[in-house]
Point group: C2
Chain length 307, copies 2
């Protein structure tokens, strides 16, 4: 089971009743954050997940509303007692940007490791395995280099006693193999896949902001259990303005959700001028019925299918 | 008349119900801000003074809770339509720190001018005239170089017709001189002080955080209409802890207010662990009765004495 929380749902300017867009995932106690604008630590604190287990921070791009909160958050993570390394993943240059911001957070009790995503054309993808998270980054179409992220939680196949018997695997190893251990015994190597059937459907969560709709997004988000997508403006009349600023309107996000055959769409990254996102919800629902307007600290948990 | 507002009253970590310590002054429409931690723009926005007329930012020191909000605030000021230069005043190195933080706010529609306060021993003072504000900075006693600020609004003397007559100043110039104009006429120079009596008492507001009490503070704040001072902890039992971290308890702030013969003391910069500052207010009032516990967006206006 993975917990997902929208930390903030605003774009451009942090407001007291709508913090800047950010999401967090929690899996086996390990927290992954996507984006960290000014004030993210304030609303993240309200969520109550704590700061010590923040293992990964993925940055979509270097506009201030997505990264300005980094030094303050790092200091707060430091004050939480963390000593284990923290990984920050972002576009090429993330190390330089983060280290500039750390002029006011030079001393931390943990190491920061950086992963710089290679610069490439819109639509390019790169994948990383960070702990239990399988992360794929997608090059988007914004005013500066910007990445969407998909979190995949893989699930191994069911235990298959027949396969284990056929392969003459000693009974005493079955449970350890089932738990993912690889065992070397009597000059033989036994691996977990030897006692399991085909891999089962995992969990997929996709997070896309800031960008125009691109041809590659539907494939990237395909079949996601949850698709979190920007909708800077609600009204279709603002489509031209959205295009100028390299953002989306609600109907464009819903169109991607439909093409991507996702289970559920949450909208986020609203313009500060949009007081009540629900005023425009029907526009999105007409295209993709299972759409919800995100709000700060909206949470869900997603489990593997029962089988 | 000058408006004064506490923008935030917290120390170390921004909280959703207590933003980081900062104060703003507004005089003839010109806004001066002291300190800008993460989230300052959020609570400043709630105050409703706008961003366009933010002319001066004074930074006490370079700890993140006093400066991390700078790049976000500068961008928001830029979005407000400001094109006039903005002055940032702070310890030696302020330009470098601010420019590092501006890695995520490189393009602004206004120029930033920096004033770097000279490094000196605790107790040293430096004065600047910034528009209508007469600002004096005092070297404090913190873990890093830190400055307190006093804002003095000077007031010229009353118009004195007898003096003007004695000096044979043409009647037609009296009103212009009274309004502060210097006039050159018939190879003579007439200055405003030629038609006014002795300067009258102005307005003084002092802001002191983060520091231990120092010998120079009472003189620096002497006679202030309003003295805003840190009290990281409320209880006297925390005096040793306060000293270790180079901060103050409420009673120490009250002691300074008493020695400085100020009119009113507002406490600020509370520890995140102090839920209800009023629980400790009596401790301060026993030493300096006219003490109030500050809260976010607490405001007052101070006028010249009637005379």
């Amino acid at each position: 089971m993975i917990d997902i929380a929208l930390i903030g749902t605003g774009g451009m300017i942090p407001l007291h009743n709508r913090f800047l867009s950010s999401m967090a995932a929690r899996l086996n106690g390990s927290i992954l954050l996507i984006d960290c604008g000014e004030g993210t630590q304030i609303t993240l604190c309200q969520l109550g997940w704590g700061f010590k287990n923040l293992d990964y921070i993925c940055i979509t791009h270097f506009h201030a509303d997505h990264i300005a909160g980094l030094p303050g958050l790092l200091l707060t993570v430091g004050n939480s007692g963390r000593t284990e390394p923290l990984i920050i993943l972002g576009a090429e240059g993330i190390r330089g940007v983060a280290e500039h911001l750390r002029v006011i957070a030079p001393e931390l009790p943990f190491e920061i490791k950086y992963i710089e995503l290679p610069s490439a054309n819109t639509g390019a993808q790169t994948s990383y395995i960070l702990g239990k998270y399988n992360i794929t980054a997608l090059n988007l179409d914004h005013r500066i280099n910007c990445f969407g992220y998909a979190l995949n939680i893989n699930r191994s196949g069911k235990f298959d006693a027949n396969r284990a018997t056929e392969q003459k695997i000693p009974l005493k190893f079955w449970s350890r193999l089932q738990n993912g251990e690889t065992i070397k015994y009597d000059s033989k190597i036994y691996t977990p896949d030897m006692v399991t059937g085909p891999a089962r459907k995992g969990i997929k969560v996709a997070y896309i902001t800031d960008t125009r709709p691109t041809d590659s997004i539907p494939d990237f988000i395909y079949g996601a259990d949850l698709f979190i997508c920007e909708g800077l403006y609600g009204d279709d009349e603002k489509r031209t303005k959205a295009a100028e600023h390299k953002h989306m309107v609600f109907s464009e996000a819903a169109g991607l959700a439909k093409k991507g055959n996702v289970k559920e769409l949450w909208l986020t990254h609203y313009s500060p001028a949009m007081t009540i996102p629900d005023d425009y919800l029907e526009i999105a629902k007409n295209i993709f019925p299972n759409t919800r307007t995100g709000y700060d600290r909206m949470t869900t948990n997603i489990s593997f299918d029962k089988e």
